[in-house]
């Protein structure tokens, strides 16, 4: 929650730069960002579907408010599915879908959920959605279901989903929550794909399973491409610690470029 407040602050700072000439819009958006609006207000009903504030819900999580590198959510699954590009893409799409659906449904229910059991309610909604989708896929799209089966557990326990429900969907209207869910799912997916790209390329010399660096044969004389020159894959890349190190490097690069993301030392 502390993290979230900080981001809200930095977001409204940015907004001031964007909307200097429209002061009326400013106050509305400031109120919306800082005060927790529980019901859809009149001004919001009039707000366009793709207003600047709504677009930011989609684009902010891609960089300045990225769930992995800035909010530090969902690290565990980022370790598990980033050895290859393909599962990372499948996982990203699945998480975007589940986040959009669960944010939307939790937001619809937000005013009737008793606050003492809200975490359990969120978990039940996520788990029920994932289980239902899995049942349907198993019956009608069996191959997709087989692909996704190992991710089901990872999605249900993914802290991003619950983190965003708790921080956003519990207090914002459905449409905004839907956008926030999609945005954060995409931000998560972006990092997943970058990490998987690096790990698959350097760890096994392939991308999406294609041997783009040449073929490594058991007998060095049969190898082609880079391997014929004596190149060897970095086996470390396949192990979980390298995912953390790669994410660490990404966070470093991101904060070097966007210095406003750096927290002040207490």
């Amino acid at each position: 929650m502390i993290k979230e407040n900080k981001n809200i602050k930095s977001n409204s700072d940015k907004m001031e730069e964007v909307n200097t000439n429209t002061s009326a819009k400013m106050t509305k958006e400031e109120a919306e960002q800082n005060g927790m609006i529980l019901f859809v207000s009149k001004s919001e009903e009039k707000e366009g579907l793709f207003s600047a504030a709504n677009r930011r819900l989609l684009t902010d999580p891609l960089n300045g408010d990225n769930p992995i590198t800035v909010q530090i959510l969902g690290i565990c699954s980022a370790l598990a599915v980033t050895v290859q590009l393909e599962p990372a893409i499948v996982m990203s799409l699945a998480v975007i879908f589940v986040m959009a659906m669960s944010s939307f449904s939790i937001s619809l229910m937000r005013n009737i959920i008793p606050s003492r059991i809200r975490i359990i309610v969120q978990l039940v909604v996520i788990a029920a959605l994932v289980a239902l989708i899995d049942e349907f896929l198993e019956a009608f799209a069996y191959d997709v279901s087989k692909q996704l089966s190992i991710f089901v557990g990872l999605i249900i326990t993914n802290c991003i989903v619950m983190g965003r429900l708790e921080a956003f969907a519990m207090s914002k209207p459905p449409y905004k929550s839907l956008l926030d869910g999609i945005g954060n799912g995409a931000g998560y997916g972006l990092i997943l794909v970058i990490v998987a790209f690096i790990r698959e390329l350097f760890g096994s010399g392939k991308l999406m399973g294609y041997e783009i660096l040449g073929k490594q044969a058991v007998d060095p004389a049969d190898s082609t491409g880079l391997y014929a020159l004596g190149y060897v894959d970095n086996g470390m890349m396949l192990l979980a610690p390298m995912a953390l190190i790669v994410i660490g490097i990404l966070i470093w690069l991101q904060r070097t470029k966007y210095t406003d993301l750096i927290e002040e030392d207490a």
């Binding site: 598990a80 599915v81 980033t82 050895v83 290859q84 599962p87 005013n111 009737i112 959920i113 008793p114 606050s115 003492r116 059991i117 359990i120 309610v121 039940v124 029920a128 289980a131 239902l132 049942e135 349907f136 198993e138 019956a139 009608f140 069996y142 089966s149 190992i150 557990g153 698959e200 096994s204 058991v218 007998d219 894959d233 086996g235 396949l238 192990l239």
Partner: protein, 253 residues
């Protein structure tokens, strides 16, 4: 209405649980039949893949053996389904195809049923043995076929429930499964040695060393594959010794 009162919280929790449970139970039961058809077809597909049948001829064209084509081709190539007891005798009361190996393994060995499928393809006989064991995280399973000499592997396929994507999950890839083809499971004295999955394998294409190349970063899954082959095959040896012509031929000496 006070949404934070004790009464409301209890009622909300109860209603939520009932609604979600009903929805899930309804979905699970109403879709069970369709899911069952998929599982059955996949099992047939797996069994046929284990004898190396990955494409079939359909209307004069070579097509991928999809789940839709599995049943027709299963009828065509599988000539016998047997349920064996641990002493090698045949148990006529059990239908081999319906045996759930995961359940079966929980019983003591004397009470277990060992399904065996016999296929005939291009005038060659294959014995297909279902495998089941545990990988690093969860169950792994597969099918391995033996050629007529009951020593040479005709093909193998593996699948898993929850191995790590990109590491342990690589056992489902063709390159790994293809490396089992033509390996031998018996040593020169006719003892079962199985197949070792070796880290940093340097044997190249040596098919007589009872070993294949492993997968970097998935030693524990590979050990699971190794143990599963060894453990399952040993129960079929009594039947093979009685009923088949076991031949041990090594090219090297």
């Amino acid at each position: 209405m006070n949404v934070n009162s004790n009464k409301y919280t209890f009622i909300f929790a109860i209603v939520m649980v009932v609604v979600v449970a009903t929805a899930l139970a309804f979905a699970a039961t109403s879709l069970a039949e369709r899911q069952g058809i998929n599982h059955r077809a996949e099992k047939m597909q797996d069994i046929l893949n284990a004898i190396g049948l990955k494409t079939v001829e359909q209307d004069g064209e070579e097509v991928f053996l999809s789940r839709d084509l599995a049943e027709i081709n299963y009828e065509k190539y599988i000539v016998e389904e047997l349920s064996l007891r641990s002493d090698g005798s045949v148990d006529e009361s059990v239908k081999a195809f319906d045996v759930n190996l995961g359940q079966e393994l929980k019983k003591p060995v004397e009470e277990q049923v060992f399904p065996l499928y016999i296929a005939e393809m291009n005038d060659e006989r294959y014995y297909i043995i279902p495998l089941y064991g545990s990988g690093l995280w969860d169950a792994i399973w597969g099918y391995i076929s033996l050629k007529e000499d009951v020593n040479t592997i005709g093909g193998a396929i593996f699948d898993h429930k929850g191995e790590t994507a990109g590491l342990g999950a690589e056992i489902t890839k063709d390159w790994f499964q293809d490396s089992f083809k033509d390996e031998k499971i018996l040593d020169k004295e006719g003892n079962l040695v199985g197949i070792s999955v070796v880290k940093g394998y340097t044997g190249g294409n040596d098919k007589d060393d009872h070993a294949v190349d492993g997968i970097s970063g998935s030693t524990l899954t590979a050990n699971g594959v190794e143990d599963m082959i060894q453990e399952r095959l040993k129960h079929y040896i009594p039947y093979f010794n009685e009923n088949t012509d076991v031949k041990i031929e090594y090219s090297s000496n």
